[in-house]
């Protein structure tokens, strides 16, 4: 089974960020900056929770900060299984896209 589009965005966002930075608000900002897509935190956590249930990511609780109104962060890390599945998904997409450049402009 491959990853959904939103799941891929999440995994890539986590991989892009340092382990100290890979928590909800930064993941959200990363996706919004790169894709212009506005995502609700609730949607991020429900998806990440599902990924954690499949053993693709791991999370730990961080320190509370004043900017968060004293609420703790939850940091995420991509597990090897997650990285492997991400690669397989991307490869499958690339195979499907091969030869479509004249019609769609995808290279």
């Amino acid at each position: 089974m491959y990853l959904g589009e939103f799941e891929q965005l999440l995994l890539m966002a986590i991989l892009r960020l340092d382990s100290e930075e890979a928590y909800g608000a930064r993941i959200r900002a990363e996706i919004e900056q790169r894709t212009g897509r506005l995502v609700a935190p609730g949607a991020i956590y429900t998806a990440l929770d599902r990924l954690e249930g499949r053993g693709l990511v791991r999370s730990r609780l961080g320190e509370p900060t004043a900017r968060r109104g004293g609420k703790r962060k939850r940091h995420y890390q991509v597990m090897p299984a997650g990285a492997a599945l991400l690669r397989r998904t991307q490869e499958a997409l690339a195979r499907m896209a091969r030869g479509l450049k004249p019609r769609t402009g995808i290279s």
Binding site: A40, R50, R67, K71
Partner: protein, 888 residues
């Protein structure tokens, strides 16, 4: 530093497991602190988060999915469980459930319906590219401080070339053409538009193309673009229509394109069914070789510039034109107005009143449900006390009660959505023609995702509003006491006081709404009773425009209308028939300047003007416009004979102070014009033309034979319902010329009624709301009294056993109830008095403190209050003392 929206945070905390709450609310607060979220965005993200977490919990019930964030900690059971428990309670208590749901359905339904209307009228953007930057450019006359839709083409070209803040400027004029060459000739709402209009709006055609630059210049090809509606109706959605020819006003025109279904233009006038290019040679107009003409102008403000900067540049261009062309442009400015907001000026104030009223209805519904919940909270005190005793925290209990409220309001919201749907479909059927043919976005009136989302959000917010107070109360310190006290007999005193306050508030709100509704209804009645100056009963009206190519001369036009009158009058059910160029309340009007021979020439700027009516002989008989002096037209007033005219009493009052107008001579046009003199042969009664409330304006009537226009309106008095005679009248006209279409077919009564449409719909809507408010308030009164009676049965039993008569009990209960009712009426009266001062501007014939309205509202509410109290009071007085005492 601003704090994040507290209600949204509280909602998050209440509806989410602790861990998920910490992550989600923390992220939102972090973004809020960083300043990257607006309040609206914060709310939006919070609500979407709640929905997605709830949804995820609902769908991932299997134990294998980790879902540890969503499962919540040990002390917390899932929201769904709370809801399931709530559902069981609701099933066990169907009367409570039904009462709460009906109440919520009324409140949410009314609000959803009004939101849908507002959405169409104001909020929903038009289907153009970036519609916020598309603006009407209207003329502003500095001297009279008035707005005019028309701008001259000269002004338009200057704006187009000189205002760099405007990306483009286009113009259009109303055309209305006869479309022939099919089974039935018809009149289509056509517009002549500059070739760049469709590009300016940024809308591509569904089929074919729009106009080329050359087609918008003199000598361009005769082409046209069809609206989706006309294409479907007249050409059966034939995709091969592009390139085919049609005949418009006798000219062969090639169809080059079809617009998409959602495209509507213009937005305040009749919706266009067909567009053809307006021929404009900009250089010739600038050089003065071609005279400028009048047109309605639209512009696209360059994106990112803003209206203020664009308006400043438009002002600069217009004031330069004032200097360069003082003869035509002195005192003329121009104002930009966003195209979608053009109706707000008229509909705005009325919509605000309606919105306030409908919010009051929702508040009443919330108060009622809160009341019901409070009453039930009292009954559940023992259950909750046991829970607290077993270790449930206060927040835990509040959350459980809120979950029940959410369930209740979601059900109520679903029922409310159904109510709104039924209401809107009824409303759609009842819209008058003038609204249907002019109001854009009407197809969106009904059910769509936006309305559904509104109903959903409203339900959630409502559940918090009505659920929070009873929930805190039930989980409060009283809960612990309840266990100690044993069976609570009627709830704590403060709960009872709170419920009394809610009832007083409900009655007060209902009183205020009823007074406002009453004033609006009286206004409508007063206006309806105004004599328009003619008798619109059983009069059929329709409009005919003769095409230039078939009727080029005045004689030909006069022959057509004379023949049509003879044929229509020959129909046995038609008592009389006549034509006039402009019927009262037909929305057309044009004032013409005139002068009276032998009178002082007027000061510049104060030249007299009058509405010009051109009528056939029978017109005054058909309309029953009384003749006040002299005679009406007859065969003596032929084109070759004496040039004659009738004037109305308003003109006599204004220009013949005390002198006899008969025999006086007047000339049309500006003073000193060489127009032939017209002899006044009669004085007709005043007719109100644009609205029933405005004073009759001066009018001049000319006999049709002297100046037969191309467009005339028929008035035919029929023996019964005029609508029934449309086919025979149409056949009679087609008997004169089979290719001649008729349009705007309606009864004169409908035309007069449409002029009162705004007042009528405001009065009808307010009446409906206040009726709902009255029902809700009476249910509220009944609920509170009935509940306290049931709690006090023991006391009544003892009283009766000790010798009280049933009548005493009746009086006791009635006194308690009516005290609340009259306090509410009194407070509501004060509110209504304050609110109705704001209505002063739209009232007519009644003052804001109209004693009739106030006394009837008080009487009505008192009667409703007595009835609502009577039933429980009577039941209380019939208490069987022995049965109650034995129960203990």
């Amino acid at each position: 530093m601003k704090r994040p929206p507290a209600i949204a945070s509280a909602l998050l905390r209440a509806l989410m497991p602790q861990q998920a709450f910490e992550c989600i609310a923390g992220d939102l607060e972090e973004a809020w602190t960083a300043g990257s979220l607006s309040r609206l965005r914060y709310w939006q993200l919070a609500l979407v988060s709640i929905l997605s977490v709830l949804l995820a919990r609902f769908t991932s019930r299997d134990a294998t999915g980790a879902a540890h964030l969503l499962k919540g900690d040990g002390a917390m059971r899932s929201l769904l469980q709370d809801m399931a428990y709530g559902a069981r309670l609701m099933r066990r208590n169907p009367v409570f459930t039904l009462a709460a749901m009906v109440t919520l359905a009324l409140g949410i339904g009314a609000n959803t319906a009004i939101f849908s209307i507002l959405h169409v009228l104001i909020l929903k953007p038009l289907d153009y590219h970036d519609p916020r930057n598309v603006a009407y450019v209207r003329a502003w006359l500095h001297q009279t401080q008035t707005m005019r839709f028309g701008l001259s083409t000269l002004e338009m070209i200057h704006l187009q070339r000189e205002a760099s803040t405007l990306a483009d400027v286009a113009a259009y004029t109303y055309w209305s053409a006869n479309l022939t060459g099919g089974d039935m000739p018809e009149r289509v709402q056509a517009y002549r538009v500059t070739a760049n209009l469709f590009d300016l709006l940024g809308v591509a055609p569904l089929h074919g193309r729009t106009f080329s630059y050359d087609e918008g210049r003199p000598g361009g090809r005769e082409v046209a673009v069809l609206s989706h509606g006309l294409w479907r109706r007249r050409f059966a959605s034939d995709p091969s229509i592009v390139g085919r020819g049609i005949v418009l006003d006798g000219v062969r025109v090639t169809i080059v394109g079809v617009m998409p279904e959602r495209f509507e233009f213009p937005v305040f006038n009749f919706k266009g069914e067909l567009w053809a290019p307006m021929r404009l040679d900009a250089d010739a107009v600038l050089a003065g070789r071609t005279p400028a003409s009048s047109a309605v102008v639209v512009a696209r403000v360059r994106s990112g510039v803003g209206y203020a900067a664009a308006q400043a540049e438009v002002d600069a261009v217009m004031s330069r034109l004032e200097q360069e062309h003082p003869d035509t442009n002195r005192g003329r400015g121009a104002r930009l107005a966003e195209i979608g907001t053009i109706d707000d000026e008229i509909a705005g104030p009325a919509m605000i009143i309606v919105m306030c009223a409908v919010s009051v209805v929702l508040l009443l519904a919330c108060a009622n449900v809160a009341n019901l919940l409070l009453a039930r909270g009292v009954a559940r005190q023992r259950e909750l006390a046991v829970r607290v005793a077993l270790g449930a925290g206060r927040t835990r209990i509040v959350r459980q009660l809120l979950a029940e409220s959410v369930l209740l309001s979601l059900l109520g919201g679903a029922a409310g959505a159904a109510v709104a749907l039924i209401g809107l479909s009824g409303l759609r059927g009842a819209l008058p023609e003038v609204v249907r043919t002019t109001q854009p976005n009407l197809d969106a009136l009904g059910f769509n995702t936006t309305t559904l989302a509104f109903a959903l959000v409203l339900s959630l917010v409502t559940s918090v509003v009505f659920g929070l107070l009873p929930a805190f109360r039930a989980a409060g310190p009283a809960a612990q006491e309840a266990l100690r006290e044993g069976a609570g007999a009627g709830g704590s005193r403060s709960t009872r006081r709170l419920r009394s306050v809610l009832v007083v508030g409900e009655v007060a709100l209902a009183t205020a709404l009823l007074v406002v509704a009453g004033l609006l209804v009286r206004t409508y009645q007063q206006q309806h009773r105004i004599d328009p100056g003619f008798d619109p009963g059983n009069v059929l009206t329709l409009t005919i425009t003769l095409p230039e190519d078939r009727y080029p001369t005045p004689d030909a036009r006069a022959r057509f209308f004379d023949a049509a009158v003879i044929r229509i009058s020959a129909i046995s059910a038609v008592q009389a028939a006549g034509f006039v160029n402009v019927l009262p309340f037909s929305t057309y009007n044009r004032a013409r300047g005139f002068s009276i021979d032998g009178q002082e020439p007027p000061e510049p700027g104060r030249e007299p003007s009058a509405g010009l009516r051109i009528a056939t002989e029978g017109y005054f008989d058909v309309m029953r416009i009384p003749l006040k002096a002299g005679r009406t037209f007859d065969t003596r007033d032929g084109a070759q004979g004496n040039r004659t005219a009738l004037v109305n009493e308003a003109l006599v009052r204004a220009h013949f102070a005390g002198r006899d107008p008969l025999g006086a001579r007047l000339r049309l046009g500006v003073p000193g014009s060489d127009a032939p003199p017209l002899t006044i042969v009669g004085v007709a009664g005043d007719v109100r033309h644009d609205s029933l409330t405005e004073r009759p304006q001066p009018e001049i009537y000319l006999p049709m034979s002297q100046a037969p226009p191309a467009m005339m309106m028929l008035a035919a008095r029929t023996a019964g319902d005029p609508e029934a005679y449309v086919p025979v009248v149409r056949a009679a006209i087609q008997g004169v010329d089979p290719s001649q279409p008729v349009y705007h077919v309606k009864s004169a009564e409908a035309m007069v009624a449409e002029s009162l449409y705004v007042q009528m719909s405001a009065a009808a809507m307010m009446s409906l709301f206040s009726f709902v408010a009255l029902v809700l308030a009476s249910v509220g009164i009944y609920g509170v009294i009935a509940y306290s009676v049931s709690q006090q049965q023991h006391e009544f039993g003892v009283r009766l056993a000790l010798g009280a008569r049933p009548r005493d009990i009746l009086r006791l209960v009635m006194n308690n109830g009516l005290r609340l009712v009259f306090t509410g009426i009194f407070l509501g009266g004060i509110c209504a008095f304050a609110a109705s001062q704001l209505l002063r501007a739209i009232l007519y014939g009644v003052g804001p403190s109209d004693p009739v309205t106030y006394s009837s509202v008080v009487a009505l509410l008192a009667a409703v209050g007595v009835i609502a109290c009577c039933i429980p009071a009577w039941r209380a007085s019939r208490t069987q003392p022995m049965a109650v005492i034995r129960l203990e």
